[in-house]
Symmetry: C2
Subunit: 255 residues, 2 copies
């Protein structure tokens, strides 16, 4: 339950929360925002918009409509930002998917501006290029931002998706210089990784140089929240209070 989550997050000393849309479906954004703020938590972002890519015009239109609702929901919740997982479709070529994404984000800029909600393109790991995001590197996300050219559109950087990229340090610097570094997510890459979606590690369990990458982001001017985002069937099965304590400890020692 959302109320349970916010009180436990506050109890371990978390200062903010990114809210997943599905987590507040019954509750609604007004009540959810109040619950979080009552616990002293800042609302960092609403997760997630995007999934713009479709083989049909109708699919694309529906996606844009849903993103409009998402932006409104963020405004009501009091979230200054929506994270965009941009989408991909095995039946749509990557160049076409990338064009659809850029066009859809451009179409949403007036909504973002009117609601005062920023949009953060999250480049996803190349292993998701077939079905979740055709935006797979920070360089690509930056190029989209330059062309869309709005102060309401920037980038969410997740070390899990980007750590392998030899251009990462330079891209982060450029991203910061352009004022596009909106969010920063952390978790760790396990070897072996047993599932493409739900086998992330707690910081320190894997091989990502999280503190180094965080340093690059902060040298590039990033001053926002360092957000922990771990999808893991293994960790979801353990006692969730213990899990939260492990996250808090790992945050201090590895992030």
């Amino acid at each position: 339950m959302f109320s349970d989550a916010v009180s436990r997050y506050a109890a371990i000393g978390a200062k903010g929360i990114t809210v997943w849309r599905s987590a507040i479906e019954g509750l609604g954004p007004t009540a959810a925002g109040r619950l979080a703020r009552d616990q002293g938590l800042a609302i960092v972002s609403l997760c997630r918009g995007g999934f713009f890519v479709s083989g049909s015009e109708e699919g694309r239109r529906k996606a844009i409509d849903d993103n409009r609702r998402c932006i409104e929901e963020a405004a009501t919740l009091g979230a200054p930002l929506v994270v965009l997982v941009c989408g991909a479709d095995p039946g749509v070529s990557l160049p076409e998917a990338r064009a659809q994404i850029e066009e859809s984000i451009s179409a949403l800029v007036p909504d973002a501006a009117a609601s005062g909600v920023r949009l953060a393109i999250e480049p996803l790991h190349p292993m998701y290029a077939g079905d979740r995001s055709a935006v797979n590197t920070l360089a690509q996300a930056r190029a989209i931002c330059s062309r869309v050219d709005s102060p309401w559109v920037g980038i969410a950087v997740d070390v899990y998706h980007t750590w392998w990229d030899e251009r990462l340090e330079g891209e982060l610097a450029a991203c910061g210089a352009e004022g596009r570094l909106f969010s920063f997510h952390i978790s760790d890459w396990l070897t072996p990784t047993r599932d493409l979606l739900e086998d992330r590690g707690i910081m320190g369990e894997g091989c990502i140089p999280i503190r180094e990458i965080r340093g690059w982001a902060e040298r590039a001017g990033f001053r926002g929240f360092i957000e922990v985002e771990i999808f893991s069937r293994r960790l979801w099965e353990m006692d969730q209070d213990t899990y939260l304590e492990r996250i808090a400890a790992a945050f201090l020692s590895h992030a």
Copy 2:
């Protein structure tokens, strides 16, 4: 059995084979080479050398020794090329791993030249950056080739590892212009992919534009074999003659 494999490959019309070292361990390279040639198969390459990255000096030295044996084995087999899966280690940082790889390949150039065996760096998908290869893009492989600067060192391009990269077409062109395009591997990317290692698809089952990428490689001057390389527990479980027939049909319609 290797003898079984070569006769079945020949029977479906294959003109060449890349030999895995483990597949000829008992048989030895001389006999294996004869068996393949007796079936009219060209030997395309020996797979695989590499795994240069280690946290210890001894580990690195052992890797180079093993690669020397691999090059000799290729020469005995009659393989003009060794495919290098360059290695990665969760305990070694990516910049350090990349430096180790480059240094090791440079150290092997005299052996390659003496044996008349070319070395092909295979960039592996970023999902293997933690444990199999710290070389994850064609751009990185090309940069290593430029610095090592030997006609014996080039690149093996596998569409499975590289299809997501928006720079792929341009990188293939550059790679060809530099005379580095040594090998070309195909298979398909499934959505969802259920295993990081052994869930590839037959050409046409997934979302990789194989024929388009092959066109880019051939426009860049590539005239070598188009090699099918599919790791799949699902497909390995089916009747293997049927599997071969499906591969042959898919090759004609999708590659």
